[in-house]
């Protein structure tokens, strides 16, 4: 077993294990911090997929943005909210674990099954890519290529996303404005 595979497994284990902890912890604050770990591990996994820029973005946007937002939202909400969030009792469960868990496991099974099935027949575009040797290699400079692609081929989506992002931010700030009526 080579080192990268070992590292991959380490990251994968870290990601899945932390994710499991995230969903199983009662304490939301801890869960959110564990969410950090998940996101880092995910970023590490992106690296193994040769998506270094995506990994950086992941860390920047998620860890620097989303997670901070979540933490702030969590911490900024008042004490009652904090209590409520921590005192979720079982009686309020609408979908108890026994109901969800089989479904999830079943779904997981289907997916694994699907993956195994799919392994037998690699899609045509992938085989041609392998044949034409148009597969990203670890030596390629992805960031350069991505910059070109954003500004040329994907300029329209890029702009739309930008506007959408702005709208979202404005909307969010509008929504979270205090004392809307006062």
């Amino acid at each position: 077993m080579n080192v990268d595979l070992f590292l991959f497994y380490a990251f994968a284990t870290l990601a899945i294990g932390s994710a499991l902890l995230v969903v199983s912890l009662k304490n939301i604050a801890r869960a959110l911090f564990l969410f950090f770990v998940v996101l880092f591990a995910m970023a590490g996994l992106y690296l193994f997929a040769l998506a270094d820029f995506v990994a950086i973005t992941q860390i920047m946007v998620y860890v620097g943005g989303v997670l901070i937002l979540l933490l702030f939202a969590f911490m900024l909400s008042n004490k009652e909210l904090l209590n409520d969030l921590q005192q979720t009792t079982g009686s309020l469960f609408s979908l108890p674990t026994w109901k969800v868990l089989p479904l999830i496991l079943f779904f997981l099974g289907i997916m694994i099954y699907g993956i195994i099935e799919w392994q037998q027949s690699t899609p045509a575009w992938m085989t041609t890519a392998i044949q034409n040797n148009t597969v990203i290699k670890s030596t390629d400079n992805n960031i350069h290529q991505l910059g070109i692609k954003f500004m040329t081929q994907y300029v329209l989506p890029f702009e739309v996303i930008s506007i959408f992002l702005m709208m979202a931010l404005i909307g969010a700030s509008h929504l979270s404005r205090k004392d809307l009526q006062k």
Partner: protein, 101 residues
């Protein structure tokens, strides 16, 4: 050798965990976290497949789009949650039943 299947399996796990959070958690924030997990799983798939698309870089491009959109979604979602909390004094989605007849 890290094959595509490795990524797919890991993403499947993460996706399922996220799905579990969405379906089973009693807390809107954790639901949001679950959504983020699912999106991350999707992104992992994007980048894993994107490896075979050097011409268009579709996988990575859309992974980036997804990250951005997720961030936007989180921002809006949190805003909504805060408002909901203000309105209902709870963040438990079970007790928010305005959709019911």
């Amino acid at each position: 050798m890290i094959t595509l299947t490795h990524f797919l399996v890991v993403s499947a796990f993460i996706f399922c965990i996220g799905l579990y959070a969405v379906l089973a958690k009693k807390n809107a924030i954790m639901i949001l976290v679950g959504i983020e997990l699912m999106i991350n799983a999707a992104i992992l798939n994007f980048v894993a497949f994107g490896k075979y698309d050097k011409i268009n870089y579709g996988g990575q491009i859309f992974a980036l789009f997804a990250i951005v959109l997720a961030a936007a979604a989180v921002a809006v979602g949190l805003a909504i949650i805060l408002n909901v909390y203000r309105y209902y004094k709870t963040v438990n989605p079970d007790q928010i039943r305005e959709l019911k007849d």
